[in-house]
């Protein structure tokens, strides 16, 4: 539907993916999805994150089912993200609270299980290069975020998120907003980057933010991070 092609990922090197899920049939399904993209290779699979990463220490991206053996693995997610592991959470639990909690814990992206192959491949490719990818379900959670300390989004960013959530087609959103598809993606991605400032700090969030600044997606002062540090560092007269 509206999945974007991702360009310039990690050169010619294959991107290693680890899959953590406690349902073998889902692992096989995701493996089949990822096999459609030649730049991706599955290094290890299993139902225990530690065990899987022991077998694939060099995995670029970890696809993590949020519910493992009946428990929400948010703690594990935060632990992995803090050490810089790029974790893409995928889950059938698509209530907005769960999705936002996963972003807060440092997940690079959140994918609803039913969002399918295109979104899954696009999310993993983007995650490997520390770039944001916002599937429609996550866009819905962000646009409806009720928390008082939610990031401040611009009107255009909110509208792009809302329409993307509704239609699942960036081409249609672009026609509707009378802008290019590229600009739609920029609005959506900028909103996502603002979420790197929510929740506790994580190495993955810093990496997303740094790449977004490098790509010119956001300016440091829009996020407020460098300005506040500059204020802090100013020598006292």
């Amino acid at each position: 539907m509206g999945a974007d092609p991702v360009v310039g990922v990690t050169g010619d090197r294959l991107i290693g993916v680890a899959i953590v899920d406690d349902h073998p049939v889902v692992v096989e399904g995701v493996r089949a999805w990822l096999a459609s993209e030649p730049r991706l290779t599955v290094l290890a699979t299993g139902d225990d994150p530690d065990e899987v990463l022991r077998r694939a220490p060099d995995a670029d991206v970890v696809l993590l089912d949020l519910r493992l053996h009946g428990r929400m693995a948010l703690d594990k997610l935060a632990e992995l993200s803090a050490t810089g592991r790029r974790v893409v959470v995928y889950s059938e639990h698509t209530d907005p609270e769960t999705m936002l909690a996963a972003l807060d814990a440092g997940a690079v992206a959140f994918l609803a299980k039913h969002e399918g192959r295109e979104h899954c491949v696009a999310t993993v490719l983007a995650a490997a290069s520390d770039r944001p990818y916002v599937p429609p379900a996550l866009a819905g959670a962000m646009v409806g975020d009720p928390r008082p300390d939610r990031p401040m989004l611009s009107d255009k960013e909110r509208e792009a998120l809302l329409l993307w959530f509704q239609s699942m087609s960036k081409a249609s959103v672009a026609r509707r907003m009378q802008i290019s598809e590229h600009t739609v993606k920029q609005y959506v991605d900028r909103a996502r980057i603002k979420y790197t400032r929510a929740g506790r700090p994580a190495a993955t969030k810093a990496a997303l933010l740094a790449r977004a600044i490098e790509d010119g997606l956001v300016r440091p002062e829009e996020i407020g991070i460098y300005r506040s540090q500059a204020t802090h560092d100013r020598p006292t007269p």
Partner: protein
Amino acid sequence: MSADLGASAERTRTRKAAIPGPQPGPADGSTPLEPAVLAAPAAVAHASDRGARIVAVAIALAWHVAIGLPAVLASRTQFAAPTVVLGGWILVAVTGAVAGVRLLRSAPLPPWPLAGLLLAVDAAVFAAVGERQLFAAANWVWGTLGWFFVLALWGRRIGGLLALLTTHALIALGAVLAHGPGAADLARYTMYVYGTFSLPVAVFVGSAVIVGLARDRAAAAAAMHTLAAERAAAERGRQERRDRLALVGAAAGRVLGELAAGEVDPADPEAQRRCVLAAARLRRLIAESDDVPDPLLHELRAAADLAERNGLPIDLVAIGNPPPLPVEIRRRLADPLTGLLADARGWARLTVVSGPGEVVVSLVTPDREGPDATGPPLGEHEDGPVQHLYERDGDIRWAQTRWLG
């Protein structure tokens, strides 16, 4: 997109859609349980308080008339100033009767002027009874006045009553000292003061405690009723979901069974359509985690159910809680989309994003070939406070209704 969408800080959880089936609530969408929770304890407390008021008024007037009056009349020749004692009795009787009636009608007289009048009568009577009648039953202010203080200060804090009774005791002490008392007089004085304090204070405090207890008990009972009603609603919702899961699961199982047995061909479009439909139904069941009925989502859910029964795979995703909306706003939000849904082919995606000041409902279906004879005019138009927007771009048909509060 207004900035306040999704700004309901008080909300901590999302309800996705209403419980299917008959709804207990009124049509305007307000939650039926809340008024009962607030009103029941207040009503019980009011009833309990009214009983205590009747008792207090009855004691004060009965004492004044049945005990005070005969003693005053019997001893009227022995007072230092009989007119003042009798006049005071009549004044307090009339004022007390008015205050009592007003109190029973929940429109009490202003407490402090009333208390001032009572204390003035108190002082005058003490000065007028004379030494011989000072401790006799004919000095009616000893026994009666405390009860009228209770009427005057009903429903107020105990401190005011204690202050009045203390002033009363000081006035009495002044009168006793003025007559050059002996040790026996002081002992009697102490006994009388104890007597005038204890009963009125006990009734005053007791009634306040009983009212408080009644209110607490009623609140606890109302909360339990609410909980039971919510549990019943949640249980009914769960049961409905279980029933639908059994139905949907059986349909999905049949397709899978036939595929596994090689009875149907995975390449057959009809088989694919059955798989897509079964998957969409299962997905919706998983997404329905709500247990609080919301009328807007309930209407949309009902329309989605109908479309699904007609074989249309449909996603219904709701984010946020719609605020309570008047029925005509809900109609304007839901009706255009439910109408289009009946005409949809292929698949449909129905979404609702709600915040305290904004609700946006959207329906996306694949665009079909040919002139759109049944569809609404394309473009944007207003229907009262609700914006409607229809578009088709060759890929999708997109209808959106948006209410801005």
